[in-house]
């Protein structure tokens, strides 16, 4: 049944090569961020010759010059916007998904179908009207412009709906017989059961919000309101010749997400695989 050993070896050797090629650029960001500019331009070896001096040069510089490039503010903005978005999405989506999956509301099927249909709507189409809408309510250049509209996305409702649908009804009924209200049942019985799905949704929302580029680019104006991804892009245009500084800013932007990825890779991989197999 199995392929002969030389064939398996060839496949895995090729795969290893591909895997190295995929990871290498990310490792290069980190290694090169420890080089002074003169070393980057000459490019003689992958490893930095004077990593401590390079670290001091690049990271010391970006963290201590918040005047024209306030990277500390961008980091704080990114953390705030991504956390608030995640909290909002989890709260709103879990309540809605539970109601749609379990409460037998008249009209809920139509509502659910409408929500699912919007999964196919490409986000670009909302850009111009959403801009005008946010401008009208005075939210342009405010973190609210990125946080609140994210709560309208259908993905989380879809994901949690699938999950709540699979929980046995007996568990809920037992809680209700014990005198729990709907909200208590939801809070004490359903949410703890949904932890894996909630974790997946939380990670996806946080990473998506953190890495979002077009949203902050369109909806934020002033530099001190920027998030890290648009900040790094600004850095690039204002410090085009100073690769070391820009790479250090990139490291600040990338590290939190890489930590999340390494810690929760199982949730991420499982979430993506499940999303693809459901339909």
């Amino acid at each position: 049944m199995r392929d002969p050993w030389y064939k398996r070896l060839t496949i895995e050797a090729l795969l290893l090569l591909v895997a190295v090629a995929f990871v290498a650029p990310v490792i290069l960001i980190y290694l090169t961020s420890l080089k002074p500019d003169s070393e980057i331009i000459k490019f003689q070896s992958l490893l930095p010759e004077h990593p401590i001096a390079g670290f001091h040069d690049n990271f010391g510089h970006i963290l201590n010059s918040p005047e024209e490039v306030p990277i500390n503010r961008w980091l704080a903005n990114s953390i705030f916007i991504s956390s608030a978005t995640t909290l909002l999405v989890l709260t709103v989506d879990s309540l809605a998904a539970y109601a749609l999956a379990r409460l037998r509301l008249p009209g809920s099927r139509v509502i659910f179908a409408l929500i699912i249909a919007t999964l196919m709507v490409p986000g670009q189409i909302l850009l111009v009207p959403l801009y005008l809408l946010l401008n009208h309510i005075g939210w342009i250049d405010s973190p609210l412009a990125l946080i609140v509209p994210a709560g309208a996305g259908a993905f989380g409702v879809f994901l949690l709906h699938q999950f709540f649908h699979a929980v046995p009804r007996e568990l809920e009924e037992a809680a209700m017989l014990d005198g729990c209200t709907r909200l208590q049942t939801f809070w004490h019985v359903m949410l703890p059961l949904a932890k894996p799905a909630l974790a997946t949704l939380a990670i996806f929302t946080f990473v998506g919000s953190w890495n979002d580029f077009l949203g902050p680019l369109v909806f934020l104006d002033s530099i001190e309101r920027y998030t890290l991804p648009v900040g790094v892009a600004l850095f690039q245009s204002s410090y085009a010749a100073e690769y070391g500084l820009t790479l250090a800013a990139s490291v600040v932007c990338t590290t939190p997400i890489l930590l999340i990825f390494l810690l929760f890779s199982k949730h991420i991989i499982r979430g993506i695989a499940a999303g693809g197999l459901k339909e």
Partner: protein
Amino acid sequence: MKSRSRRIDFTGYLFLLPYIILFTFFLILPLAYGLWLSFMRYELTSPEAAGSHPATFVGLANYREALADSWFRQSFFATLRFVGMTCPATLILSLLIALAISTIPDRRQQIYRLAIFLPTMITISVAGLVWRWFYAPEFGVFNAFLAHFGVKIPWLTDTHWAMKSIVIMTLWWTVGGPVIILLAGIRQIPDAYYEAAAIDGAVGWRRTFHITLPSLRPVLLFVVVLNVIGAFQVFGQPYVITTGLPERSTEVLLMYIYDVSFNNFRLGYGAAMSWILFLVIAIFSLIQFRLLREK
């Protein structure tokens, strides 16, 4: 009994309410508002001036303007070239990688999945920065390597190469998702299919073509449709890496819509072009459903 069930229904709607408010206000409303805008002339001198310049109904004028606008056409065809190269390449590459990973023992699969998926986690301004450095004409990593063979490629400076370079970078950045979905699909195929095929003498590539690929059809459909929808909305890669150059050969449609809407504040025209892009995406999705779902 009846009154009790009615009360439960009422709290049920309260559960639903917060999401429905957001959904209506930030998804359904802008969707309708955008369509309405696309039939309006709505041009501002600055965003602060919104309200002082009323929108005037112009019917299909914005759509007619788009068809006659040579920059619209050029950015539309740039987008088509991107989609035409990226989507088939993504499909083939992700299938090859997923098939390769599926042949190795489970214990070691995870490390390859993580490696292939890692770039997807990098935000576009960071990924673009690194790749601009790779592609740089003199000090670039690629040309420094190719110089050993006396070759020099104008990665980002030649109109024939620039879009290809963006596509190569995009493959690195986005192929991880399709690989993981396809791999999950491959693992769901029952062993019995392969055993039956082995009895009939199907091994190696024949097994792949007669068992694996047909069984993957629904998963492939999902991957392809999602990939095409995403590719038509390409923005960050050319925006960060080439800024649309050289000679606007990498200025894709969403970049042009962005420019018209938020640099020139011609919002009615921008909305109309967004709807054209939406219609094109919808048509492509329908064609794919037809082609892949039948049989």
